[in-house]
């Protein structure tokens, strides 16, 4: 990975060695956000979230079904975790639907954080960039703290930042694909151009190595669900992601070496008894 010109992040205090993630002013220790869907069982979900160390869990809303006690069992587990909730607007195809869903989520979950998703294409679930900007503007004016799920388009990112977004969540690759970072160049460009914005890679992460790659180029956090929930052993994978994200963050903060075109000996050759052999 090419060394970035990015400076040490503003939230890192070198004197106290404090490195906090900032979500609209809320400081967090963990840089891993996890989803709550698709686990083999509620108990495994709970254990995986706990071992991940995540302080933010995503969830959603749908019509209550009295036969399932309105999702009361799931809600009890989530409450017992004591984490920040990040409701999403999954499945919304219009600005109106997304705004309505955000308002319901705010009342229901008692949080003004919203993971804003607006589907623009049903095949790859690509966000609709135009409607995303429109909905973001409406929700920010209504007091929401919007975390928009967007593509890696630099100009859309700029529009969202100019509207007042303090957090952006560009995709690594389409939701649930596990393909990792499709376009590291584009993600790097967003990082370099918006050094003050909290950037979270959301979706497409399949392996801890994908997460490390994003963290090494300076992304502030990772949001994932499928990679943990669909692993053969979700709890073990959650632990692996926790460690990888910590490693990636420390690598970024440490300032990686600059890449070289030619070999550079790491062992000093001066006074080597064999130095003249190469002449």
């Amino acid at each position: 990975m090419q060394k970035s010109e990015q400076n040490t992040p503003s939230v890192f205090n070198t004197e106290t060695n404090q490195d906090k993630l900032s979500i609209y002013g809320t400081k967090l220790d963990s840089r891993l956000f996890v989803g709550s869907a698709m686990y083999p069982s509620p108990q495994i979900m709970k254990e995986a979230i706990k071992i991940s160390g995540s302080q933010v869990v995503t969830l959603s809303i749908s019509r209550q079904n009295p036969h399932e006690q309105g999702g009361h069992g799931f809600w009890s587990i989530i409450q017992s975790l004591g984490v920040h909730l990040l409701p999403n607007t999954a499945g919304c195809h219009s600005v109106k639907d997304a705004v309505n869903m955000a308002k319901m989520s705010r009342e229901l979950f008692q949080t003004d954080w919203i993971k804003l998703e607006l589907v623009g294409d049903d095949y790859n679930l690509q966000p609709d960039p135009i409607d995303l900007v429109k909905a973001t503007e409406i929700l920010l004016k209504d007091g929401f703290k919007v975390l928009p799920y967007c593509t890696d388009d630099l100009v859309i990112a700029r529009h969202l930042v100019e509207l007042g977004c303090e957090v952006l969540m560009p995709w690594g690759s389409p939701i649930g694909t596990g393909k990792g970072l499709m376009n590291p160049y584009a993600l790097q460009a967003i990082r370099d151009r918006f050094p003050e914005t909290t950037l979270i890679v959301d979706s497409g992460i399949g392996l801890p190595s994908h997460a490390i790659q994003a963290m090494e180029i300076g992304y502030d956090a990772i949001l994932l669900n499928t990679a943990i929930a669909k692993a053969n052993q979700p709890v073990l994978m959650a632990n692996a992601f926790r460690k990888s994200i910590e490693a990636g963050r420390e690598a970024y903060l440490s300032g990686p070496m600059a890449e070289q075109q030619s070999a550079q000996p790491s062992t000093p050759t001066i006074d080597s008894p064999f130095w003249h052999y190469s002449e």
């Binding site: 709550s36 869907a37 209550q64 309505n100 319901m104 009342e107």
Partner: protein, 65 residues
């Protein structure tokens, strides 16, 4: 008067408020309401009158990514 609550039909002999209609439906906390695809804040439930063929959606928490 017919009211659709979460895709089930309920019949009322006279006009009812949203909060009274919800008593027929087994609502679990926490929940939020859409009336004819518009969000109705909890503070307005007891003041909102329903009309014939109104559609009410009661939503709760589910898993999500």
């Amino acid at each position: 008067m017919n009211i659709n609550i979460n895709k089930q039909q309920y019949t009322f002999e006279k006009e009812v408020k949203l909060m009274d209609a919800l008593k027929l439906f087994e609502v679990y906390q926490p929940y939020a309401i859409l009336l004819n695809d518009e969000f109705i804040p909890q503070s307005e439930h007891e003041f909102t009158w329903l009309k014939d063929n109104d559609k009410v959606d009661v939503v709760g928490a589910i898993q999500g990514g």
